[in-house]
Structure formats: structure tokens, C-alpha cells
């Protein structure tokens, strides 16, 4: 009798656990943290020295694209951009505030996040989860003169999969968006007209070509 009761209880609890596991896959809220390593960029850096300021707000940035989604991209974006800037400049110094810099480098770059947006299949009517990260790069000379304030958008998407969790999909899309930010930086940084002009002025282009 007792054995029968116990086996029924175990069965009920197992069923409840299975149901819970299935329902957690359908959860509509997501909270993810991106702190994984990113690959080193394959590029020859130019003979330029730069100071990159990752201030506390940037290094601990937590995005909330909507009420149900929280993406902690602070650590991830610092790792990613550190790699990318090391591929752009021969000498690069990373500091958490401008005061920490020795002031010997020819460029100062202060990245910041303007906005993070996200969308799910129920919002975009497509079978993809999407994440947009809009960066702003304040680029200055060593004297503090602004060269440009460059808007750098990045985009990532990941396909919707049956029973896959929303958190996993948002995490994937955020990683792809961060990688896209690195690609955009490597592809377009030296194409910024103001940077190109500054390099011409400094006679850096002739030296590196």
C-alpha cells in the first residue's frame, strides 16, 4: 500500500518536473550575461598609438531592450573591443578613465553605448531573434581636440528553433552582434573621413602603405 502510494507520488513529481522543464523553454523573459572570449583579429595594425578608455559605465553596461529582456554586455564588449583595437593600432593602452592615461599616445578613443534594441519572432513576424547595439566612438587627439564622434551600429540575429529557450537565442544574437561590432570597426575605422584626413595630416598613411 505504502509502496504504491510512494510510486504514485514519485510519478506525479516527475511529471510536474517534466512539465516545468517544458514550460521553462517557453518562458517569455530572458536575462543573459555575455562574458565569453572572442577570437583575436587577423589584421596588421597600423603604426599608430592609441589610448582606449573603457569607463565603468561601459565596462559594466547592462542593456534592457524591453521589460522582459536584460542583456549584460559590459564584460563581453570590453573583451571584444580590446581585441579589435589591438588589431587596429600597433600600440594601444586600455584605461578606465582618461586621468589614468600617460597622455603619450596620438589618439584617444572613448567608446559608449547609445542604445541596445532587441526583437523576438513574435514582434518581428520572422523566425529570428535580433539584437542591435548602437555604439558611439568619441575620437580625440592627444591634446583633447575632437576628431570625430563616430556612430557604429552592430547587428546580430539567430534563428528561432522549436522549444529552444529565449535566453539562449538572445545570448547567441548578442554574441553575433558583438562580433559584428568588431567586424565593423576593423572594416570601417580607417575609412572614417575625419580619421583619414587626420592620418594624411600626420603623414601616417604614406608610412604604413
Amino acid at each position: 500500500m505504502l509502496k504504491n502510494y510512494l510510486s504514485k507520488t514519485v510519478l506525479k513529481r516527475s511529471l510536474a518536473l517534466i512539465l516545468l522543464a517544458i514550460l521553462s523553454g517557453c518562458s517569455s523573459s530572458a536575462s543573459v550575461r555575455i562574458d565569453q572570449e572572442f577570437p583575436t583579429v587577423l589584421a596588421k595594425p597600423k603604426a599608430i598609438s592609441a589610448t582606449v578608455v573603457f569607463d565603468e559605465a561601459f565596462a559594466t553596461y547592462i542593456a534592457q531592450p524591453n521589460k522582459k529582456t536584460v542583456i549584460d554586455i559590459g564584460a563581453g564588449q570590453v573583451k571584444l573591443l580590446s581585441n579589435a583595437f589591438a588589431g587596429l593600432f600597433e600600440e594601444v593602452e586600455f584605461v578606465s578613465s582618461l586621468e589614468e592615461s600617460a597622455g603619450e599616445n596620438s589618439l584617444v578613443i572613448i567608446p559608449s553605448v547609445r542604445e541596445v534594441q532587441g526583437s523576438t519572432p513574435s514582434e518581428n513576424y520572422l523566425n529570428v531573434f535580433e539584437v542591435w547595439i548602437k555604439y558611439s566612438l568619441e575620437i580625440q587627439t592627444a591634446d583633447g581636440e575632437t576628431i570625430d564622434s563616430w556612430f557604429m551600429p552592430a547587428y546580430g540575429k539567430t534563428p528561432d528553433a522549436f522549444m529552444a529557450s529565449k535566453s539562449r537565442a538572445i545570448e547567441e544574437a548578442s554574441i553575433i552582434a558583438l562580433r559584428d561590432a568588431g567586424a565593423k570597426l576593423m572594416l570601417d575605422f580607417y575609412r572614417i573621413p575625419a580619421i583619414y584626413g587626420w592620418m594624411m595630416e600626420q603623414k601616417i598613411l604614406e608610412e604604413s602603405e
Binding site: 572572442f38 577570437p39 583575436t40 583579429v41 587577423l42 589584421a43 596588421k44 579589435a84 520572422l126 523566425n127 529570428v128 540575429k157 539567430t158 534563428p159 528553433a161 553575433i176 562580433r179 559584428d180 568588431g182 567586424a183 565593423k184 576593423m186 572594416l187
Partner: protein, 248 residues
């Protein structure tokens, strides 16, 4: 060299099974009942079979030269706005090719090693861009280091085209169950383009279309009769790509 254009319509395993059953019947004295019950069973399952068509174009019927130690990388195109060539499909095709002793590098390993030049934003969409990219000694060196001889670009997706019927499930103190009938059509369309990374030229292209209908019958318990459309597209494409590199 004369180019080859092939169009093949593949028989699904179910169709082959029917043919084999009929052939076996004509060679044996088993009762009609057994044959008919088998055929009814097969007919039920045949509703779940996919029709797969492959179109291929390549410069010649000869297998593409792939020396020992040289590798192939299968990459998914991810620059389209409304869909994404999913990684499971890429892995499935890669595994199919690996089965034929073709060295296939994992997609992510290659993309990471050459970051950021094969990201959705930066990946070369045509041969002129690839030629320019390969002029970079760092990129060329990394490709050579991994002995990558061919790139196979896969582009496509699997979509649900049409859905019909309805099924409802209920549960109460006396028990529960599902009643009704639902069906949906799926279509997988994928294109593969093979690039030679040494001679920087296109070696051929393939297109696979696979279509089928799946059913869900609610008779107290839900009975799914699923058509493996994507799986059929993967196996057909993988086998055909194998024939690009090996003697059949």
C-alpha cells in the same frame, strides 16, 4: 571542357520500400493479406515522404581534385535579412561529407581563425571580393595553414508554407486527450557553391528543393506523422557534394 548540368529527382525511402515489397511478392508465395497490410502501412507512411529535387552545375563530370591533407570548409550564408542558414544544417552536411574520407573543418573553427573576415558583414559574396581578400598575406597564410582547399557556401532555409486543420487537447479529472487533425507543408531550399581557394575560381553549384507534408492526428493521444524535409535536403545535398570530391 564541356560543363555538366544535371537534374535529379530522388525517390524517397518509402517509395523504394513499396517497390521492394511488390518485387518480393512477385518472387514468393506469401499470402495476399500480408502484402496488403504492408502496403496499407506503407501508404500511411508515404504521406510523410518528401520529394527532393537536385540541380547541379559543374564544369565536368570528373571529381574535383582534393589531395591528401587538404580540407573543405562548409560555411553558411547569414547576410539575408529574413532568414539564416542554420548551423545544424551546416553540421549535418559537413558530417555527411566527412563520412567519405573528405577532410572537413568545423565551420566555427575556420570563421574564428580568420576573424573578422568571414562574419556576415565582411564575408566575400563573390569571387572578385575573395580574390582581393586573398591578397592579404595574413588571410592567405591562415587559409594555407589550415590546408583549406575548397569553400562550400550554403545558403537557404526551411519554411512552413501552408497549414491546415485544427487539433485541441483537454484534461479533466477523468482523464484527457487530443482530438482533431492538423497538417502543414514544409519546403527546404538550399544552394551550395564550391570555391577553389587555390585557383580562386568556382568549381560548381548545387541546388536542392525538398518538399513534404506532415500530419498530426489527435485520437486521444496525438499521433505525429512527420516528414523529414530538412533531413532529406541535408542527406541529398551532402551525398551530391560528396560526389563532387570522390569517385562514385
Amino acid at each position: 571542357m564541356k560543363p555538366t548540368i544535371n537534374h535529379k529527382q530522388f525517390k524517397t525511402p518509402i517509395e523504394s520500400l513499396v517497390k521492394r515489397l511488390i518485387e518480393r511478392k512477385s518472387n514468393s508465395n506469401n499470402s495476399h493479406t500480408k502484402l496488403y497490410s504492408s502496403l496499407i502501412m506503407v501508404a500511411l507512411l508515404a504521406g510523410c515522404s518528401a520529394t527532393t529535387t537536385i540541380d547541379e552545375y559543374r564544369p565536368s563530370d570528373e571529381p574535383i581534385e582534393l589531395n591528401a591533407g587538404e580540407n573543405v570548409v562548409v560555411l553558411g550564408r547569414r547576410d539575408a535579412g529574413h532568414y539564416e542558414t542554420d548551423r545544424d544544417f551546416i553540421n549535418c552536411v559537413s558530417n555527411r561529407m566527412r563520412g567519405a574520407d573528405i577532410g572537413v573543418l568545423p565551420e566555427q573553427q575556420f570563421i574564428d581563425s580568420i576573424y573578422p573576415w568571414f562574419e556576415p558583414r565582411t564575408a566575400p559574396k563573390g569571387l572578385p571580393r575573395l580574390k582581393r581578400l586573398m591578397q592579404d598575406p595574413l588571410v592567405k597564410g591562415q587559409v594555407e595553414k589550415q590546408s583549406v582547399r575548397y569553400l562550400v557556401w550554403l545558403d537557404g532555409s526551411t519554411q512552413t508554407l501552408d497549414q491546415g486543420g485544427s487539433i485541441s487537447c483537454a484534461i479533466g479529472p477523468g482523464g484527457g486527450g487530443c482530438f482533431g487533425f492538423a497538417q502543414w507543408d514544409k519546403l527546404s531550399v538550399y544552394e551550395a557553391i564550391v570555391w577553389d581557394m587555390t585557383n580562386l575560381q568556382e568549381m560548381g553549384r548545387l541546388r536542392v528543393d525538398s518538399e513534404g507534408t506532415s500530419y498530426l492526428i489527435g485520437a486521444v493521444a496525438p499521433i505525429p506523422l512527420l516528414t523529414p524535409v530538412k533531413s532529406d535536403a541535408c542527406s541529398s545535398l551532402g551525398n551530391q557534394l560528396k560526389s563532387f570530391f570522390t569517385e562514385q
